[in-house]
Symmetry: C4
Subunit: 500 residues, 4 copies
């Protein structure tokens, strides 16, 4: 296939004939324009030009080659025709640079919340919206956190806690933490190295990373970045075209991936309204008012733009097929009920993740930690517990080692942490992720000593009081009128007035 | 009857002889002045003049002909004597126009709350007060919303949800949504086309509209706006004069109305204080201070001004009479207890609406969704459930498809939505209502997939955790003193300080 | 006794010989100075002068004659020597006048909270502090209100509610309302006519007033202001000197008082810190800093200054004695437990008031309405209920007819309302109290119709859901850090930004 | 050992040879630099100089002699070579002086919260951070307070409460209050006299002080300040070197200490992030950004800097040894479960303190008062209760006499108060502590009268309703969107607007 000059590409710069360059390859996307989940307008902006920079952070690297028929892959750009442009810094770039320069020293990061606060401050609005958003009224995302605070400790004293050990195994693989890095999408929105920050830190510290289907970096880039012996799992969104899925899974197994986490709570990606609203803020920062009546697809945000390949017909009858195409242990990610936990067990998979997808799917779904209690009860009806052939994981809302220890005391084998690790690399790259591990270690050491558990095995249900976990009370709506009229602080106004 | 000149009308411009023109007809309202629920003052403002514009949005179109004795209907105005005035825009008109021009594009409306936020911003204060107000301390209106958030989902996974279907039947009529448009009064306060916005959108999308007794548009206008085959129900406030009610009901049946919803929770309309307070803000926006000692009726707001005809003696013994005057299915709207649900069943009506009138009647009444659970339990004692001869509906506080699905899972046949649809047309007319339907469809598709229910039938009680529904806790009153003194955020003040 | 000239009085203007004039009589208070509960300083300010104006609002009229030995009652002032001074308006007087002039029209008062808001705005700081304060952290006063909002209605429908009747009897006396005016102290702090505002309004509308021991007006003034047949009760603080109490009670009975309410929850008056802090704000509004080390009594506020006569030794063994000195029905005010309710019953009194003294005594005491449920259960063990020989009343936190109806449905014969009536006269005098009655009537009519109860008898426990009354949950303390970092409103910032 | 001149010392002013003067003694700390828990930098600031002033408030007086090998104790400074410097006031000193001058009169202090508000206002930021901080998200510290407000009183009436007596015995020692002063560290951060303020006030009023291991004053100073017969207890952090502990305990016993409270909830001191963040605010008040990558130890705050000697291997098997080295009664401080309470009982100690270390150790640990209920139940299985051989104490969050009475009613022998007493001396020295005692006495008298208990013995479980103590509900996360849109105060905006 001969090389194509940029001039030739530039001649196809309209809706009637639209070529674009991505990663040095030329594609004819004319017929694809109406199907593009993000709308045709955004593509046309790059018609006849190089679209790589806009394409990169929000598409899996092989998205275009997978979705576009072979005959539309026109060939490589002639590098001699490419004019190197000195990229000018935009105002947004400059703002980001200034924020990065002013970010706190990593020494000042004391807990995982700090990473989130810094990420919120430095990230571009779209990236923050995509990362932080959850579905509908964002109730479940907050419940995920709140649920841990309905569980209280019953610490034991006077045990010799000179040394405490929080290492464990996950699906038979050693892990230095009872925590794995859960899959989160589009890492490059937060940092140019994207998911590789996680891979490198994880390799250095013996932590297991779950590679996301929707990573910004390609699967192979991520696997290539691993050190010898580093354990990685794969998170899988199942494609409508099962052959694509089969190839993907078998490739992963061949590359040494040690566990397959099939996402089962996302037949369709949730409505993340914060993300969706971003579509209405254009470059100049002014809202587009009263324009365009037909743009149904406009409304969808990044999340939905990238997920149209996911198969909503996925069902239990697919499980035997998965078992037939891989020898990796299979874990279902997104189980929420004891009924489905038992089905998973009976279908012979190796584990489940009690998860609500970080609050990004079904709003007012219960938290994983709440479901854990019922699930463990149910699984005990299938034999002795813990069951070495079936592991239960929990994710969602974990920010403290104390959360980890609560989940483990209640029966989880380990927990997944997604957003918190992602936030940790936004401002600090790999070093941030390493610091996050260090925080977990510091807090685990502290808390295991204070609870009186010297190893993961010694974390028993009696160490927590989870009796309030199902207390979803909600308040009697306040009597605004009375409160306004009659509730006055009883504080010594005098003293405060004088001194402050 | 000969025509009357506007000059002749203008001669009767005082309390001792007061004529007014409404819709081209002249009326002598002198004797009616002291009886006018809104006070005589507002009528005298139009004495000897055309009052149509003030009359229209807050009176049912036939109010004046119904309430005024025939002999006071003086005849038609001589159109040749009417001077067409070019209506000058008031400041308020101009403000409203500016707000409408600046309203967000309908594409930016992502959920039903957005319509409410926009309506609040663009509506004149009186209209907003009338629409949004609820009774007393407005506790029940907020509880209506809060109750849904005490119900959590238990979603099922790995069912083939390629296609999901949320259509259903209501009283035997097909509906594309498990949602009907509930009756709300005085639609023209929000938009010049009033209830017709709902009719037109409903006709286009196969949704059922319940026509309110207190519509701004006349009953026949609303029925005339329907497309062939469009299903409409009628909401009925029962008149002290049963003949008026009988004529109204039979006329409705003749015009094709398919169901009669008799309001049973409003022997008297509630005290909606926000609405009442509007009476004290005069045109210049300044409160009237220290004036007038005897004006008991002043205090009543729009709601009570328009409702004096409602019969507080309505009782169970009237039910057989209703059954004798119509073949339409009869539904009691405003049931709140299992006791009354059973009575309704035993009296042979076809259904009930568990409702507290949108929080506008008895404050601290429980929510419909809370009552649903007890009511379904009670109705099971009357035979197999669901019972094809008796349907249970719920309204109040519904803003999300997830709310709809919770109600259906717990036994409701469908749900009523009032305010949310009304808000949807305030800024956007018919298009707003259609967008509201679209939002319901998008959310229903999403949520049914995520719950694992492919049709209305598959929504079962096990899919929700409603164990907290009766948890009306209310808080231990806060210790203001301690909170002021001792609760400090633990956040990294440093980092936030630097960056923001 | 010969008349004393003001000049003679003026010669005794020091701590070593201190005469004062009160109501035209001269008293030698030299020996009383160190005993004065309010401290000697405040008396010395008036040494040799007329102290009436300062004395009046915070002393019962006979306080000085009762406490000072006869030989210190020096005689009457010679009126010819009294120089009439034109009282100059102070800044505070002028501020109060301006506030009164700007107060809202009474027509704008729509509910009882409004009276409180206006009172708060217009009252001098000391009066507001005294009226509104409660003990310690003011938790019980807020719980009193909150408790009613943990009780929800179960309204019945389709009863003929054309006429509803809320009249009842209290201790055998007719009352047009199921509400009596409970005793509150020091009415003149709020309005120059003090308690007489209540008496006059009550007489006009057939409401029963409970006369407080600590009224600003004398007992006889209050009785004299009653119309023929008007029913009044007496609230009694029992004096350490039982003879004084006996005389007081027997005088009341002779004057026609129909019931004796003995306060049993105040062996010592509570620490009302808001009131106490007032002592530290001097006339110029500036706090006194670092002055005086020994002033234990300084710290006590109005409440404690006026209550030193109350007997902390009062006990059950006194009950027979009370029965021996009066034929009035005896009610114990301030009962809080079923144990004491049964003791009261067994000691043969005619009733009890479940009360925590408006939150002014024991902080974190439970509310009367919460205690009612247990108390009624206990009293049922003594025979059929309701028991015509023993009535149970509730007070504390009542602001709505709905509160009244809840208490009655749960077994109260009637309820007491104190502060709300007091606030009603602060800005509007007698007319305010009448308006408060009117508000109760309007709300009672409305709510009884909406509940489906046509008379007090029809208010049954099944009409309320009080299952949450004991839910004193208190919150899990919020995770400030997480909330600051991660809770973001999901609202359409865009739309709001544009419009507002 | 000959004297060393300051000039000689000054020659060792670098990291390669670093001498410092503390309390007139010269130490060679060169080798100790890298081990210093607070980092080497802070020491180097004083290299070659007198470090006493910086050393004093945050080290136990014998820290340096204990930690530094004997051969590094170089000898005494030659006093003739010491130049007396007139200490110049820093800006911070001047600010503190101004705040002290403006602090409210002690007469204005009405409750214990007031001391805390004043302390917060006048203390330097570091001192406030150290005193007020708690671990992680500071949830337990707030729960400590909240728990008391889930306990409500059931007061008894008509008991002769002329005299009430709140004196008691603690470990057989008379105490005028049912409250002891619990151990808190580093008193000199708050006041130059540090813990001696407590000692002197306690001696004067018959209150028992628990001497902290980490006091700013030395143990002997504190004992020397006691009056004859004054009772003191000792709080013990057990040293890795048991000989040091043994000497310390036996010395205490010899000096007359009457009880040994061994801290068992602190094998490692907690992460108090507010304290830790202080490290990042340098003298100029500007955060240090992006500096230093290796400073793990930087992150630790005062608390951890002073606690490295504590032995994490302490266990039940050490208890017999403690019994062998002392005849003082032994109490375990920091028990949290019935299991450990029974172990303590069975190991033969004399009591336990149910404590979570003021929320400074394990966050989301339950409160002492909540644990009390289960612990008393458990101890009843060991024989009659109360058990004269085994006393149970509670600390954490106590600010009111009502809190004290609740704990005693539920079975505590007495309660410990730490921070509140510490705050009381920050602004007022010994006098503040005496005022705190007075407040307790006033509130105890009041509340015992109002509850109907005349002595500690009469405080019985029936006087409290603790049924809600385990209600750790946590809220359903609020629906921010709905709340923003739809919750409007119902207040009369008009009236408030006019008046305020």
């Amino acid at each position: 296939m001969s090389l194509i000059s940029t001039k030739a590409v530039a001649e196809h710069a309209s809706a009637s004939s639209c070529w674009i360059i991505v990663h040095g390859k030329v594609y004819d996307v004319t017929e694809f324009l109406p199907e593009h989940p993000g709308g045709s307008k955004i593509i046309l902006k790059y018609a006849g030009k190089d679209a790589t920079e806009a394409y990169d952070p929000i598409h899996p690297p092989d998205a275009i080659t997978t979705h576009l028929p072979k005959e539309k892959h026109l060939g490589a750009v002639d590098p001699n025709t490419v004019v190197k442009v000195v990229k000018e810094l935009t105002d947004e770039d400059r703002k980001h640079e200034a924020l990065m320069a002013a970010r706190p020293s990593i020494d000042e990061i004391i807990n995982l919340h700090d990473f989130e606060a810094v990420a919120k401050a430095i990230l571009p609005a779209k990236a923050w919206a995509y990362y932080s958003s959850a579905s509908d009224d964002e109730i479940t995302i907050r419940e995920n956190r709140a649920a841990y605070q309905r569980i209280w400790f019953r610490p034991r004293i006077l045990r010799d806690v000179s040394t405490v050990d929080w290492s464990t195994t996950i699906l038979g693989q050693r892990s230095t933490l009872p925590v794995y890095i859960s899959a989160t999408a589009l890492g490059k929105l937060g940092h140019p190295d994207g998911e590789l920050n996680l891979t490198r830190a994880a390799g250095k510290h013996g932590v297991i990373q779950m590679i996301p289907t929707l990573a910004s970096c390609s699967f192979d880039e991520i696997v290539d970045a691993a050190v010898p012996g580093q354990v990685q799992f794969l998170q899988l969104y199942v494609n409508r075209d099962r052959e694509i899925t089969k190839k993907y899974v078998q490739h992963a197994e061949k590359r040494g991936v040690k566990g397959l986490f099939i996402t089962v709570d996302a037949p369709q990606l949730g409505r993340r309204e914060k993300d969706m609203r971003m579509k209405f803020v254009d470059e100049s920062g002014v809202a587009k008012v009263q324009e365009g009546q037909d743009g149904v697809k406009k409304n969808e945000g990044v999340a939905r733009a990238i997920s149209s390949f996911i198969d909503p017909s996925l069902s239990w009858k697919d499980i035997p097929w998965f078992k037939s195409i891989t020898n990796m242990p299979i874990v279902l990610k997104g189980v929420a009920t004891p009924e489905d936990a038992l089905l998973a067990y009976d279908y012979g998979v190796q584990g489940i993740v009690l998860s609500n997808h970080g609050g990004r799917q079904l709003d007012t779904a219960r938290s994983g930690i709440e479901n854990l209690i019922e699930v463990v009860e149910a699984l005990k009806t299938r034999g002795p517990w813990p069951n070495p052939k079936f592991e239960v994981f929990v994710d969602g809302g974990i920010r403290r080692a104390s959360d980890v220890l609560k989940a483990i005391a209640l029966g989880a084998k380990a927990v997944g942490v997604g957003r918190a690790f992602m936030y940790s690399f936004c401002a600090y790259g790999q070093e941030g992720v390493e610091k996050a591990f260090q925080i977990f270690r510091d807090e685990l050491e502290m808390n295991m000593r204070l609870i009186g558990a010297r190893s993961i095995d010694e974390l028993v249900p009696q160490m927590v009081d989870a009796s309030a976990i199902h207390s979803h009370v909600g308040l009697t709506p306040a009597d605004n009128l009375y409160n306004t009229t009659c509730t006055y602080p009883t504080h010594s106004g005098v003293c405060i007035f004088l001194l402050i």
